[in-house]
Every structure is written in C-alpha cells, then in structure tokens.
Amino acid sequence: MMDFEYQPYGGGAAQATTNQPDHYFGGSYGGGVQSISRREIIEHFAEFRRAIHEGPVTLVQHYYNSNYETMIQNYNTEWPSAEALKEHVGDDALFLTLYKEMYFRHIYASKPGGVSLEERQESYMNYIDLFNLVLAKDQPLKIELPDQWLWDIIEEFIYQFQSFCNFRTKLAKRTDDDIEHLKRNIKIWNVHAVLNVMHSLVDKSRIVEQLEAAKKRSLIGLLKLHTLTSDYYMALKTIECIDLDVTKQNDVCQVFHCIVATNYHAGFCYSMMRNYDDAIRVFVDTLLYIQRSKPIMVAQTFQNDAVNKTADQMMTLLAICLTLNPMRIDETIYLHLKEKFLDKLPKPLLWVGPDGKLPFRDSFAYACPKFISPAPTIFEQRNDSQWAEPFNRQIEVFTEELQEQAYIPDVRSYLKLYTTMNIEKLASFMEKTPQEVKPLLLTFKHKLSGNDAAEKTEEDFQSSADIDFYVDKDIIYIADTKITRRYSDYLVKQILKYQELTRTISEGLTPRHAGNK
C-alpha cells in the first residue's frame, strides 16, 4: 500500500510538475497514528453537510478546517467517492459538488505531477456545475460559505487552469492518446470559459448582496489570471476598486493567504511596469503584515507553506526592485533582506556568468508567477517549447528593460562621491565620451523619477531615492538626502523587550508554593 504525503498546493506559485516522493508508512510506524474507519469519515461529512445547510457559518468554517487535518492523519484512507457519499447523505446536488471540489483538490495536492487527463476533465465539469448552481438566475444561493472556503475555491479553480495549461503545452511527455483527447475537447479548461466564470461571478454579485465577498474574491482571481497571462495593465485595472493597504484591514478581506497572494501579484505587476516605488511599498507593507500575523498563521497549518513561499518570492522581487531603485525601507525587513536575498543577487544584475548564462534569470524564475499561454496549443510540435515560451518572453522583455537601465547604478555610485562634478570627469570615470554620458543622465531621470522634487514633502523624503541631480551647462550638481538614523523606534523596542525579559525571569525565580497555578 502506497501512502501519499500531503503536499499543500502553492498560492500563486504551484509547481505542477514536481513529483513528490511517496513515503511508505508501514507497520513499524504504528503507534500514534489513528486510523479512521470509512464509516467515521462518512459520518463526518454528513455532519459537515448539515452544518452547511443549517449554519452558523463559523461551524462550517470549523468543519472545513478540520477536514484536512482529519484526512492528513489518515494515510491509509482515500477520500470516498461522491457516489459513495450520495448513498449516505442523499441527492444533495450542491453539497455533492462542493464535496467533489474538495475531493479533486486533494487529488491535485497529493499527486501534483500525476493528475490524469480524465481527472482534470471531471474536475472541470464539476466546477462548471458548481458555478452554475451558484450563479443560477432564479434561485439565490441559500447557504452561506465562509470567506476562506470561497477564496480557496476560486484560487483552486485558477490553479487547476494553470496546471492544465502546463499539461497541454508540455507535449514531450504526452501520450498519443492524451493528445487525441485534447484535440477533440478543446473546450475543456478553455481560457474564454474561465474568464467567463470569473466575470459572471463579479457581475452576479452586484445583484446579490451575499456574494459581495465572492465578488472581491473573483476580482482577485482575475488579478491572478491576468498576471499569469502577462497582462499587467488589466491585472491592476481589475483591482482598482480594492484597497490593498494591509495596514487598514476591513472585514471583507480577512482571509490571510488571500491578502498575501493579492499583494504579491499586485507588487509583481508594478515591478514589471517599472513602477518600483509602488512595488517596494506593497512588498514591504505585506512582509511586515506577515511578520505581525505569525501567531495567527500557526493555526492554519496547511496554508503556511504557501504563504512562506510567497513571502520568499516577495523578498526576492523586493531585492531586485531595491537594486534598481534604491531607497530606504523598514529596518527589520532590510536586515533580513540583506542577509538572505540582496547579497545573493549578481552584481550587476545582468552579469553574465562564466558559462555564458545570466544567474539573474534563476532569481527571477523563482520569484515570478508561473506564466501560461492562453493561445491554443499546436499539438504537432511535440516538445516543451510552447510551455516554456511565456516565461521566456517575460524574462526577455524584463531583461531588455534592465539593459536600458544598465549604466544607472554606475552613474549613481560616482555621483554619490561628489556634490558637483564636471560631465567630462564623469565620462572619464566611466570610460565613455561626454556625448555618451549625457543620455545616461537623461535616462536616469526618465526611468527613476516619479515625482518632481518640488512636490515632495518631508515624509516623501523619508522613503524616497537617496540621490538627485541637475545639469547646468557642463556641470552636474548633486543633492543627496541624508537621513539620520532613527534610533527612537529601535530603543523603544529594546526597552520593551528587556522589560518583558525581566518580568519573565522574575516570575520564574519566584518560589513555587504547592497548589499554585
């Protein structure tokens, strides 16, 4: 009997093609593992179903969360098929489609590389059924699903679409049968259908208040979809009405990993559009938010891995953005960043290694979403080029952008050394002619100045770029912004920490009397 280790699927960065090793938990493991009988599982789901219909929504949330824990502890049991459940709970179409959604989610999670074409197709048909029920014109949905579940459904829907795109473009591994089947069923997981579902959810929820949360989730789903198909403009436009600011939290967006995923994608779009200021701001705010929320994270174990991975990806992107657009950011984030991420990036970014390759590509490949191509697959090309093409295109364009900015770091480092500098001097430092240097100065200004200096307030300077300049005839006048170190925050934190420490120690030293505590 082969047992599968439960592998949580990534929120935004799922690797559909890694094969997880199968762990064999034989009799020697015995001991603490309880096995639940099939009967108990079915009863559990019957209870779950009742909770869904009767509420309250918090009970549903409880059952929903405990589902995975229950199943994880049972290496020997597979999820019962929907038909088996039907016998016990009756013909409850809504519950069964919801159940099947979780069932397939488990399949995708437990064998990410090995989901068969039939399973993908069945899962897709189930989603269509589910959304048809939800979007039914005459009957509004009578049940209330917890936000987290809603988000998980939408996220999983997009993830499976992404997985399918990978599946149909990695033609080197596909069997002839599979290819025939794919050719005959091009409507399955078709991009138009997916977009249609998302947009319908958004539209429907304008009418039905209950679906307000669904609307926000669907918009975020669209954000993700557009980012995956490299339409950063539409991605950001779609979430215009959603306030991403993690420092102001309102009820609707309480799902932790949803917030993280949203900000990751938004930040990524900003970086691709050369809007480094906003990208940096979004990443730093979200990373601080994750730090603060660590206590809550412990409770939702199976999503933690996904959030941690997204956090690492954001750190990598943040490191890249800061290299291109240096500015001051929060000390704690900066220290962590420097240690683990900044120092790992090649300097300069586009440095070519001895093997003729760009090491920067690896960092970018880790940090970026797994792009897909929405175009129809050309099945005759039996290789993986159509799978690789979206990523290659994105990194190529991003690299071209970086090449246009290639000399800016050098210019910056020379300018930092002086308060005034003759253009000739700068040219000789950089081993170029003055005629070549002047466009570099113009490019510096073009690429990196967001606001005009005149409009900046003192607060803006706290976080803005460290250097500015202008050219008068042949002389460059340089202004730098020195900010004295903020000691107050650090000192306050330390004082509070020591106070806590002192208190803990003195409590520990108090002699214990019998009967205390």
């Binding site: 977009l195 339409d231 559009m273 129809p376 200004k445 202008y470 202004a479 106070q499």
Partner: protein
C-alpha cells in the same frame, strides 16, 4: 489639435468602452471593430490605450489573427504617451517571433529602445529613414523629450538642444523655446535656460523627530 471636434471622438471612445465591458472584452467578434478603431485614433489625433490593449490581448489568445501592421500602429501610438510605460506593457503581450516578421514592428521596437535610453539624436536620424504616417507623432515625441530635458537640465547648450529636438527650422525652434518658457541666456547665446532646479534639488539632512507617542509606552518604565 484634433481635426475633428472633441465631442465626436469622445462619443466614439465611449461606444468602444461600452463594448469592452466585462466578458465582452474577450469576444473575438470585437476584433474588427478594434482594428478599425486603431486607424480612427490615428486619423483623429487621439489615443485609447485600453482599447488597444484589448486588441493585443485578442492577438495573444488567437495568434492566427495577428496583424503586424496594426501592432506596429499600436506600438507607435504607445510611444506618443511616453514617459508612461504603455509600450512596455504592450511588449509583454506580444509574440517575439511574430514581431520579428513585420518590419514596421521591428522599427517601432528600435524607436522605443532609442527613446527609452534617451538617445534622441539617433532617434531623429532613424526617423528620417522611416516613414511614420501618424500625424502629430513627432510633436508628441518632442513633448516627451522636452519633459525629460526639463527634469535634467537647468541650462543646456543650444546645439545640444537642437540635436535633441530633431529637424526643426530656426523659427520653429525659437517658437518652441518661447512656448515652453525657456530663455536664451542674455550673456551667452550658446546656452538656453530651462528651469530653476537650484531651488528644489538641494542636499537635505533629515533629522529624526521623536514624537511623544513613540516613547509613551516606555515612560512608565524609565
């Protein structure tokens, strides 16, 4: 300067925007309309980035419909909106191979590279050899160049400025200087005064201000 009244172009823009709402944006039947609309923008001196992106998206979804010339037009229009990153956003949606197959697209990509790295003189030389049939194109590019010069220079040499602004007659050149409020230096006609940066670009030393709220938590301990 629109050759057609503003209200007519606005109505057309509104019509198109309506057709692109929600899922309809991806409806392949919209494609011919969007393609015509690109020409409409060129003929009427205006620019609708959203509609153009919708068309590029359609080409992405269905590469068999890719129209190189339309893509070239869209890219050139995007250049007129510099310094905004419209061109960059378009690039991400384009199939690299198909782009290489159309000479006008290749040309547009080259223009972008020159303008983004501020090699203005080279750009004008390149433009001479090309035939860009978008009325008002040169003016918009000049506007971008002037903005960038404005940000960078306080005083610039006349010769430098002339090269950066491309083929202008002396009258046109002097007219432009006047319009932008620039001035030929009275004591040295080889230089032109752009704007006063000295006031705004100064070294600053920002000293930390400790607010009471920050230290309140520790007041009772210390």
């Amino acid at each position: 300067m629109p050759s057609v009244s503003q209200s007519r172009t606005n109505t057309r823009a509104e019509e198109v925007a309506k057709k692109l709402k929600g899922i309809e944006r991806y409806n392949p039947n919209c494609r011919p309309m969007l393609e015509e609309y690109v020409q409409y923008q060129i003929d009427n001196h205006f620019y609708d980035f959203d509609a153009n992106m919708a068309l590029l998206k359609m080409y992405q979804f269905d590469p068999s419909n890719f129209q190189g010339d339309k893509v070239a037009d869209i890219l050139l229009l995007a250049l007129t909106n510099l310094p905004k990153p419209d061109f960059l956003l378009c690039k991400y949606l384009l199939d690299a191979q198909k782009c290489q197959e159309n000479s006008r697209v290749v040309e547009a990509l080259h223009f972008s590279e020159l303008l983004e790295s501020c090699r203005f003189q080279e750009f004008w030389e390149q433009l001479e050899r090309a035939s860009v049939k978008i009325p008002g194109f040169e003016d918009r590019i000049r506007e971008f160049i002037c903005q960038t010069i404005n940000r960078t220079y306080q005083t610039i040499s006349r010769q430098e400025l002339q090269l950066a602004l491309g083929r202008l007659t002396t009258n046109e050149f002097e007219g432009l200087i006047k319009t932008r409020g620039w001035k030929i230096l009275p004591d040295d006609a080889t230089y032109i005064w752009i704007v006063n940066h000295e006031e705004n670009i100064k070294s600053r030393n920002i000293v930390e201000k400790i607010k009471f709220e920050h230290v309140a938590p520790v007041m009772n301990i210390v």
